[in-house]
């Protein structure tokens, strides 16, 4: 959907990678910044109803974050499994 500039500034960009992307059936979405305060809030919102038992790592604006890290409109939040590069 096309978002107006006002709407864009009220949203948080959420990304999923690897097995989490498959489990959630989605790689990227936008959520309203109003209902969430922390990364953990975002995760509970986007994963609700899904039975995800694996370990999930968080990042905010491309840096690792703990669950209690604050998020705001315009942030880029990502969720992913333990990394396996190299």
């Amino acid at each position: 959907m096309t978002q107006t500039k006002a709407e864009l500034t009220m949203t948080i960009k959420v990304l999923y990678f690897a097995s989490l992307k498959e489990l959630l059936g989605c790689g990227e979405e936008s959520i309203s910044a109003e209902a969430v305060k922390t990364v953990e809030d975002v995760w509970l919102l986007v994963s609700q109803g899904k039975n995800i038992s694996q370990q999930v790592l968080y990042s905010v604006n491309q840096e690792y974050a703990e669950g209690d890290a604050l998020v705001k409109a315009g942030d880029e939040v990502a969720f992913f499994p333990p990394v396996t590069g190299g």
Binding site: Q62, A78, F80, P81, V83
Partner: protein, 150 residues
């Protein structure tokens, strides 16, 4: 320098060209480097291919940060990190970490430090195509976790 590439790379050629381009002739006494290569076996199963996914943006940001940390901890002249993404075949180089310094201690320690951090924190994920012994069909599975190299 950090390179994330979908193209196969020859680590020896990359090292050779990069070292020449550094223009540090006569200055460096030590180069320690590590190359990780795709094997055709993992956890007892035959592996025929792999897809390497990453988080564009965060990958570069994270690697930049860890190299800055290494340059802070050790006396380094230059560093080169190359990581492959996309579709890979067995025997393809996956990662190259190279460090140049005046004395060997710095190069040895920094190359291992960068490599271990990359393995445990840089946002890359491997999905491998495996055929378990006794099975006819191939399956794709995510590699679950890297083990510590220490």
């Amino acid at each position: 320098m950090i390179k994330i590439t979908e193209q196969p790379f020859d680590p020896w050629q990359e090292l050779s060209s990069f070292q020449l381009a550094m223009r540090r002739d006569g200055e460096f006494g030590a180069c320690a480097n590590f190359i990780g290569t795709m094997r055709d076996m993992n956890e007892g199963d035959a592996v025929s291919g792999m897809v390497l996914e990453h988080y564009p943006g965060m990958t570069e940001k994270h690697l930049d940060k860890i190299i800055a940390v290494a340059k802070d901890k050790w006396d380094l002249l230059d560093t080169l990190v190359i990581h492959r993404v996309g579709k890979l075949l067995p025997n393809d180089p996956i990662v190259l970490v190279a460090v140049w310094s005046v004395h060997r201690k710095d190069a040895f320690e920094a190359s291992r430090f960068i490599m271990e951090d990359l393995k445990s924190k840089a946002p890359f994920w491997k999905k491998e195509a495996v055929k378990s012994s006794g099975q006819q069909t191939e399956k794709n599975r995510w590699v679950e976790k890297n083990t510590s190299g220490y």
